[in-house]
Amino acid sequence: MLAQVAATSPQPQLEARAVHLWRGEKHLLRGVSFALYSGELLQVVGPNGVGKTSLLRCVAGLLPTESGEIVWQGQQLPEGRDEFHRELAYLAHVNGLKAELTALENLRFGVSVRRAVTTEELRETLQLLHVEACADLPVRALSAGQKRRVALARIMLTRASLWILDEPITNLDKAGIALFEARIAEHMRTGGMILTAAHQLLLQGQPGVRTLELR
């Protein structure tokens, strides 16, 4: 119900206006624009090498744009960058986990930089993604899918309102995708926003789910 209210609210939380980006000799992003409202999931689709990851990195502030604006809650970035980053959880192709540390240690250090967190909370989140058995194993020993689930647990734990996820369901099995879709739906229901780059669309046909096609 929140999503419906959000969809009619006039103020987009996140907006990209005519973003251009060059990578070397290639004009990768040619005036990409989108608006993201509270409670929405926007999936960026397009063939390999079209610039999905670059667009996500631009929005997150990891790549400077050639021209165009990224606006968060009415403020044009990089102004207010730290506040924006506190509201942002970003998951790249790499999981951002230390192989030598256990899943639990990884989560504790990853989340504590942003907010205080208890071990029970960490274990509960791992349980939600059905990887509680991996909590005390070094990440090196986990399978690719299990690592991805631990990385997604970190995103959920940050309590950020905006999730930017680069192909989040890579290496996940069917059960894992279903679990994760449920978490996404929950995040949207509570007014969160998600921007993903995806080859496989999530939550197809649900309200508040849109796609942005790059050419």
């Binding site: 400077p64 730290d82 030598e100 309590r159 309102s161």
Partner: protein, 233 residues
């Protein structure tokens, strides 16, 4: 909206967090952490073999030998400072954490110094004795190395942050950092030399301390700026 007001941890808390994380990581691969120290011991032991086992001759060159070896050992240690974190994506998470990156990187450099610089400081008197250095010089040697390796760590961290995205950037790092480290080497070796001749060492020691304060106060901002450039690629 979800809770937009979160209690973010204080700066001291973040410092402790980074320290705890990196110390734990160091325990898990202690063999890599020991490398610079082993390098330092081996290089200094080579000199008596190559030059002469006569203590009189060794005593003359021992300040220089110890300092050059310490400098190269600290350079060797820089390779493991930021690279692993950048490669596995944890550095990206820090850049996007909304916390001051300069502080995070300073905490990381401090931990790195505890693991690679401090052992050199503790080992130096023993190695110095092997090179015929009198016991009375130990405090000065340890003090110059403690101040000096601190400066080397901060300067090196700036260079490491700049070159971390460069494949096999260690040669570039050496070219970049070694010229900047010259003053530290000059004052450090000079102070030890003066102490061996029984002369006052306050001058070069004060200068070393001033250099360290200067690098620690401004270095973190340079590290953070360099790291942002390296991650943006």
């Amino acid at each position: 909206m979800q809770s937009s007001v979160q209690t973010t941890p204080g700066l001291g808390k973040i410092l402790m967090l980074v320290l705890a994380r990196d110390l734990r990581l160091a325990v898990r691969h202690w063999d890599q952490v020991l490398q610079p120290l082993i390098f330092f011991v081996i290089v200094t032991t080579l000199f008596p073999l190559a030059i002469s086992p006569a203590l009189d001759e060794l005593r003359k060159i021992s300040p220089g030998v110890l300092w050059v070896a310490a400098m190269l050992a600290s350079l060797l240690a820089l390779e493991s400072l930021f690279r692993p974190d950048v490669e596995d994506g944890t550095m990206e998470q820090w850049v996007l954490s909304g916390q001051p990156l300069s502080l995070l990187l300073l905490a990381k450099t401090l931990t790195h110094w505890l693991l690679t610089g401090l052992p050199l400081v503790l080992m130096a008197p023993i190695v110095g004795t092997a090179l015929g250095m009198p016991q009375s010089v130990w405090p000065v040697l340890a003090a110059t190395l403690a101040l000096g390796t601190g400066s080397l760590s901060v300067l090196g961290a700036i260079g490491a942050a700049l070159t971390v995205s460069v494949r096999r950037g260690s040669v570039l790092l050496a070219l970049l950092v070694l010229p900047l480290e010259m003053p530290v080497l000059i004052f450090g070796a000079r102070a030890v030399d003066l102490a061996m001749h029984g002369e006052p060492v306050a001058g070069p020691l004060n200068l070393l301390a001033a250099l360290l304060l200067f690098f620690v106060s401004l270095g973190p901002f340079a590290m953070a700026a360099a790291m942002r450039i390296s991650v943006e690629s």
